[in-house]
Every structure is written in C-alpha cells, then in structure tokens.
Symmetry: C2
Subunit: 332 residues, 2 copies
C-alpha cells in the first residue's frame, strides 16, 4: 500500500488524497531514499523522453542535421503547441526533408474544438527526433513508431541500459502518441535519470549525449513544456541543477546534477495535480529548488479557490515525508 503523498483540503477536512511512490537513486543504481512500492513496473510515459532522445545524439544524427539546443529540448519535450514550438518543429522537419505528414503522433484538437496540425501534438518533437535518426541511419521512415523499427530497437536498448534492466523483461505497450510505452520499476527509472545527472559511469559517447541533452533542457526550458507549465517552472527554479520532466498518469522525474541523483515518482491514481505537487515538494525538500520561489510554491502548495477567488482549501505534500527527505539532503 503506497503512502499518501498529497492531500487536498476544503474547509477543515481533507477532501481528496493522492497515494503514490517515490524513488531517489544515484548513478550506481543505489536507492538513496524511497517511499512506497518502487519495484512494481509503472509506465513512465513521457517522463522518459530524455532517455528516448539519447540515440538521436549518439548516432551522430543531431550533428549531421545541425540540431541546436531548441531542437534537442523539443526532442525531450511534451510541449504546449505554442506558436514557437510548432514553428520550430516544422522548420526542423523541413531540414530533414519531411513535413508534418510524416509524424505518426496524430493531430490534436484545440481547446476551442478546432482541429490542429500534427506539429501541435505535445510529442511532435520526440517524433521528429525519431524521424531524424531514421533519416541519418538511412532506413525507412514509414513505421518509425513501431517497436520493431530499427530506430525504436536502438531507443529501447538505450533505455534498458540506462535503467539497468533486461530489455526482455521490459514490458512495452502503446503510448498515447502511438510510440512504444515501456514499463519500468520506479527504482530503475530513478537510476536511469540519475545517469543523466551524473554521467561518470557511462561510456564516453553515451555520457556526451546525456550531457548535451541535459544542457539543452536546462538552456531551453520553454521548449520542454511551455508558458506556465510545471516542467518549465521547475527547470527554471533549479537554476542549472535540475532537468524535470512529467509523464501522463501522474509521473514526474528530475535529474538533479548538483546532488548526482535521479528522482522518479508516480501517483497511483494518475492525477497530474498530485504529481506536480509532489515533485515540487520533493525537489524543495532536497534543496534543489527554492520553496520561496512563487512558481515552485504555486505547485507545491496550490490553494483551492472558489469562483470569487477566495481561498477555500489547498493542496500540500505530506509533511512527514518532507521531513524525512530533508535529512537526505544533509547526507549528500
């Protein structure tokens, strides 16, 4: 039974509660801290995008097509489809001789119900990264999203290596964007993310790729998510020490280079508000972001407002777990 990570109050009572698990590991795979079941496989969903982009750099594709920090950040992104995201993805597709029709991620529907284009899909940067790798390898681009395509086989192998798991024991389902969705225990996910924060035990090419992606994410946080988004706020608040990435269904990871650790958490019920509250509070307890920063506080201690704008409740991370986490900080 996973512990309660986040409570949502109204008046004097707890109205809703989010259970979940948190794993913090170092690059050796050692669990630095955890709560809940960190051995059960979970789907990290988009929280593995930095891992999925490693081969794009390692293969030489990023250099061959002259990708800069904006493109690499987009390859690791779940972006909001703002104009600057869409324009950058379209320009990148043009550079590899393709257009939006090549994207397998489908076209989303806008908030106003109008159909958008495929470049607006939050995963369009990841998909363009896959296509770039396929172009560079000289393989068929059609079907690039299938698990048996050469690009995905390399991506899955890199993820398994980073996580320290046998790829034969890594379940693969289908993500919302039609690309493979692997399952990993939170402990293994935290380890993989720690190896982005601390590349000392990686092979030189892998280490260079991890550092380059990490630098791109930190340099272009708006390209990783967008205006007002949690990932963007946490990367900015981390001031060069944090690469944070959300995944659907209540997942969040963060590579904390100042501590050489990876954080991975999953809220059991899949709630985004639970995951955002928890990751902000965990990073604050670790000293990786400043809880006094308004954007961090807005995530970790968000008020519940009524329609007149009055505070009628709030959400917060478990004080007991936060106290335990603060002790981790003093040992690193």
């Amino acid at each position: 039974m996973n512990p309660i990570l986040v409570e949502v109050t109204r008046g004097d009572l707890v109205e809703s509660r989010h259970r979940g698990a948190v794993a913090i590991a170092d690059a050796s795979g050692k669990l630095v801290w955890s709560c809940g079941d960190v051995e059960r496989p979970i789907y990290p969903r988009s929280a593995v995008k930095m891992l999925q982009a490693l081969t794009l750099v390692e293969s030489g594709a990023a250099d061959a097509f002259g990708l800069g920090e904006e493109e690499l950040a987009l390859a690791c992104a779940s972006h909001s489809g703002e104009a600057f995201h869409v324009e950058a993805v379209r320009a990148w597709l043009g550079r590899i001789g393709l257009d939006e029709d090549a994207l397998a991620c489908g076209a989303p529907v806008g908030a106003d119900g109008r159909p958008l284009t495929r470049a607006h899909h939050n995963c369009s940067g990841k998909h363009t990264g896959f296509l770039t790798d396929a172009r560079h390898l000289g393989v068929e681009t059609q079907g690039y999203e299938r698990p048996d395509h050469p690009v995905q086989r390399r991506v899955l192998a890199a993820m398994a290596e980073m996580a320290g798991v046998d790829p034969a024991h890594m379940p693969v389902a289908v993500d919302g964007c039609t690309a493979p969705a692997v399952a990993l225990p939170l402990r293994a996910l935290a380890t993989a993310v720690a190896r982005i924060a601390d590349t000392s035990c990686l092979a030189p090419d892998r280490a260079a790729a991890a550092r380059r992606l990490d630098a791109a994410v930190k340099a272009k946080p708006l390209y990783v998510a967008g205006t007002g988004r949690a990932c963007t706020a946490l990367i900015q608040a981390g001031a060069g020490a944090v690469s944070a990435k959300t995944g659907a269904e209540g997942v969040f990871v963060a590579a904390v280079s100042s501590l050489g650790i990876g954080v991975a958490l999953k809220v059991d019920d899949g709630a985004t508000r639970g995951a955002e509250t928890a990751i902000a509070a965990v990073l604050a307890a670790l000293g990786a972001v400043d809880l006094h920063e308004a954007s961090v506080r807005a995530l970790s201690r968000a008020p519940v407002l009524d329609s007149a704008g009055c505070v009628v409740g709030g959400r917060s991370f478990s004080p007991r777990l936060a106290a335990r986490l603060r002790r981790v900080r003093s040992t690193r």
Copy 2:
C-alpha cells in the same frame, strides 16, 4: 483503507487505480451494501443539489413563480452551459425580477479562453433556485449564498433531516460556486438520496417536493447535465427508475426508485473518470441500468485510445465488487 474501485490498464499492466467507498442505503437509513469507509464525512459537493432544491418546492416558491420541469431540473443541475441551459436560466431570472448580476456563482471562462456570463456557470440553476426562494420568502437576495442567510439555513436544515444527521455536526465549507459545501458520511448521503427514491417515511410536503424534483430530473435529463454527460446518460438509461447526480472531486449519487435505495460513492483521489466508471458499473450490477446500452458501457468500460484511435488499454470497475453487488439485486 478503501478498496480499489476502478483500474485503468495499458497493455498488460494496470497503469492507474482509483480507491474509494460506496454506500447503498434504504429510506430507513439501513445500509443495504457498502465497501470502504462510509462513516468518514466527505464533501458531496454538487451531488446534493436535489436535496438543496427541496425547500424551493416546499416553501411554495416553485408554484408561486410557476416553475416547470425544466426549471426544477436546472435547480438540481450541474449543467454544461449549452444555449438551452443559459436561455432557460435567463428567462427564469427574468420571471423573478432579477438578472444575471444577482447570481453569486461568478462567470466561468469558456474552453476557448473567452469569458462567459454567470448564467453559463454549471451551478446557475441552483443559484437561481436560491434566489427564487428568497424572493418568495420576501427576504434580502443579497448574500443569499452565505450559510447564515434564511434561504441557506432552511436548505441546510432540510439536508440534515434527509440525511438523519445533527446539523450541529455537519461541517460546512465553501463550494466552488461560493455556496455552502456541507460534509456528510457516505452512509448518511445514501440515506438522504434513498428518501428521494422512496418517500414513504417523509412528511407529506417533503414527500411531495421530493417526488416532484425526482420527476423533473427524470423528465428533463438534458437540463440536469447536458449533451454527452454522464448524469444525463445514466438518467436516460434508467428509463424512469434512476435520478443520478455527480459532484466534484469524484462523487456520484443515484436515487433508484425501482429498488427504493440510494447509492452514494466517493473516489478518494477525486477523479471524475473513477466516479463515472464506478457509478455506471454499480447501477448496472444492481440492474438499474442496462450494461448493453452503449452510453452506459462507454462509462463503465471506457477504452483507452491512442492518437490513431486504436484501443491500447481500458478502465473497469472491480469484478469482485460487481459480483457482490449483483447479489444485492436478488435480495430486493
């Protein structure tokens, strides 16, 4: 620890899970069936709107202002702000000599980001009901949403009577629409709802009011929620036997007149998808709605699709709990 009510799968694994509690009571207050903690107070939120509307009928206000089924259904509604909802609320406000400025519920923002008017607020019918009662009682309309206003004092007393609880032990917080949000144990909430399904133990005026509201909800299900909404689908599928109403943060209630029972459930984490899946499955297991009906199945066994429209997972109610519930049906 509440049991898992609903699981969401992806590929071969459970991706997310929703815990919660379910209470089924009869009009005497006897618990017919339950799972999880049904004694802890929860906020039913909008799931008590039929109870909040009782005094509107009992006071004579509904007759004095010639309210029909559409207005009474709107008083019990969390509507979608479709044109027919908004027009009906505006016409009703005109009939009591007021306009939208009198509504304390605030104006929502549309999906496209444009500001809407107060009549669009999902609670505008409930608020217009309160105002109608205030007009009929000849009291100040200003402040009608405050717990100490004569209208709210009567509403809170009626709710406490229906639920069989001491109003002094009924915590009151503020709802999203600024009106009072009471807290009730699920068992008491189910009892109150059962007394709408079976009015035999109520005083004559209260019984008549409950029957009239129940009839209005069943006659005008589109006014209770809207196109494609869960409440509307369940009331329609119930074919005259079910009045169903959702509440924010994972609550659902249903008065099942064919069985003389009230169902009340709360998903711990507040997820709407969990509550909708659970109420549809519970009502199907009780035989109150037909699981073969597409709209019911879409709620109780909703598939998870990728962006290409392929089924990559699904959500479903606990088979173990459904089997236990089917036995309740045979005893009624």
